[in-house]
């Protein structure tokens, strides 16, 4: 029987990473990122990568690590504020970036996974992000056509997996991971726990195993960007 469980992040990426490929990387800020797979990706040394990810990490964590090593040539993102190295490479022209509104970003990735090459949205109509794209009127409103996004490899983070690849996410660490799992030609999931098939309630599966090719268990660091608290009265 097919074994989807890999012993290490390095092993889980074995044979998948080449110069110039397009990757999707899950996470919102540093929340729900496949942190150890990103480290393994850095250690692979692959260059000229296109990274589709909501953010670009911070200087020394998340995708920021691959900016330090200049392995990323292009990013497709919605917001990249928290990263000095990003700003430097972007302003110097070393790094190409495609900004996408966040809802359009999520939907384009879902479309890539669902076999929908294009869809229409009102988001961004009349703004620079809709310029040069096809427009279409429906029921008296103008919409812009947006294309699907797909990846050679998707790296996602989940809380729990079973051995056949079903995934469950935890709280807001879910974010873009489920759609990215669908839109990768190969999807690798980094998880905190792996249970036998049958140990996840089939009604509670977030990502069915069909979308997941490889699984690796790691111990998460889970860095927090903005630790905000309420003082106890």
């Amino acid at each position: 029987m097919i074994n989807k469980v890999y012993p290490s992040p390095q092993a889980a990426l074995d044979g998948l990473i080449r110069d110039g490929i397009t990757l999707m990387v899950g996470g919102f800020g540093l929340c729900g990122i496949p942190e150890k797979l990103i480290l393994a990706l850095r250690d692979s040394g692959a260059k000229n990568l296109t990274a589709i990810s909501n953010n670009a990490g911070v200087d020394d964590w998340g995708l920021g690590l691959l900016l330090q090593t200049r392995q990323i040539r292009k990013m497709v993102s919605t917001y990249v504020g928290e990263n000095d190295e990003f700003a430097r490479q972007f302003l110097s022209g070393e790094l190409e970036i495609e900004f996408v509104p966040q809802g359009t970003f999520a939907e384009r990735i879902r479309a890539g996974g669902a076999g929908i090459p294009a869809f229409f949205t009102r988001t961004a109509v009349g703004t620079p992000l809709a310029e040069g794209k096809e427009h279409h009127d429906f029921e008296g409103h103008t919409y812009v056509m947006e294309r699907w996004l797909k990846a050679d490899v998707s790296l996602v983070k989940a809380w729990k997996a079973d051995t056949v690849g079903n995934l469950v996410y935890r709280k807001t660490a879910r974010n873009f991971n489920p759609m990215m799992a669908m839109a990768g030609r190969v999807t690798v999931a980094e998880v905190e726990e792996i249970v036998p098939a049958g140990y996840i309630d089939p009604d509670s599966v977030h990502t069915p195993g069909i979308f997941v090719d490889r699984i690796v268990r790691t111990v998460s660091v889970k860095r927090i960007e903005q630790r905000t608290t309420t003082p106890r009265a």
Binding site: I109, R174, E225, T230
Partner: protein
């Protein structure tokens, strides 16, 4: 006397209704959550995948897996739900969110908004702002009436790249409250409330757009 930031957000909170699903932007709009009237249930949506955002956590409750769209650690109220980004923006784009309260850099007299980039400055991206202004049923802006240099932010047409066209329904500043009105095919903001002690001339001096005046002008209560 012009309103304080706290008063601006207090006035904004008066727009909330029981059972509303609301998205609050980063910065001043976040403060609106502090002024939800007692006995009213308002569901705060955070576009990274949370409906039912609660207060910031106590120190021992902090959970790296539970943040808001500003990347701050938060809590979830009873009845909350978590979901993915596609579902989150289905709520927003699909018109299911009753109200968004956002900040702005510029607003045009027809209700265009610019709040995501300044040419020549490092562009950080647009996040969910374009989706919110295009999709949410009612978009309210809370902001200072002018820039730090005292230049009007409500202007004939935006000079900055747009976030959305003709999408702002209401503006609340330290000087006044304005509602977008349509009259014989023209759309303009109508001033309906003035801050205590603020005059019509004060508003007109601070505004570089055609605006309308309500025949029933009131004082802001906040």
């Amino acid at each position: 006397m012009p309103l304080t930031r706290d008063q601006i957000t207090r006035r904004a909170a008066q727009e909330l209704r029981d059972g509303f699903y609301v998205n609050l932007g980063i910065g001043m709009p976040t403060l609106v959550a502090n002024h939800v009237p007692a006995g009213m249930q308002v569901w705060l949506q955070s576009e990274n995948g949370l409906l039912g955002m609660g207060r910031f956590p106590y120190d021992d409750e902090v959970d790296a897996d539970l943040i808001n769209a500003g990347k701050q650690t938060v809590t979830a109220v009873p009845g909350a739900s978590f979901f993915d980004g596609a579902t989150s923006f289905a709520m927003i784009r699909g018109g299911h969110i009753d109200m968004a309260i956002l900040g702005a850099m510029e607003i045009s007299e027809e209700g265009d908004i610019a709040n995501w980039m300044v040419p020549g400055k490092m562009v950080k991206g647009v996040g969910g702002a374009m989706d919110l202004v295009a999709g949410v049923k009612r978009v309210v802006v809370t902001m200072e009436h002018t820039t730090k240099k005292g230049e009007p932010k409500i202007i004939k047409s935006c000079t900055l790249p747009l976030t959305g066209k003709a999408c702002i329904d209401m503006i609340i500043t330290e000087l006044c409250v304005m509602h977008m009105r349509e009259n014989q095919g023209r759309r303009r903001f109508e001033v309906t409330e003035l801050a205590p002690g603020v005059t019509r001339q004060d508003v007109e001096r601070a505004t570089a757009a055609e605006i309308w005046w309500s025949p029933d002008l009131k004082a802001i209560e906040a």
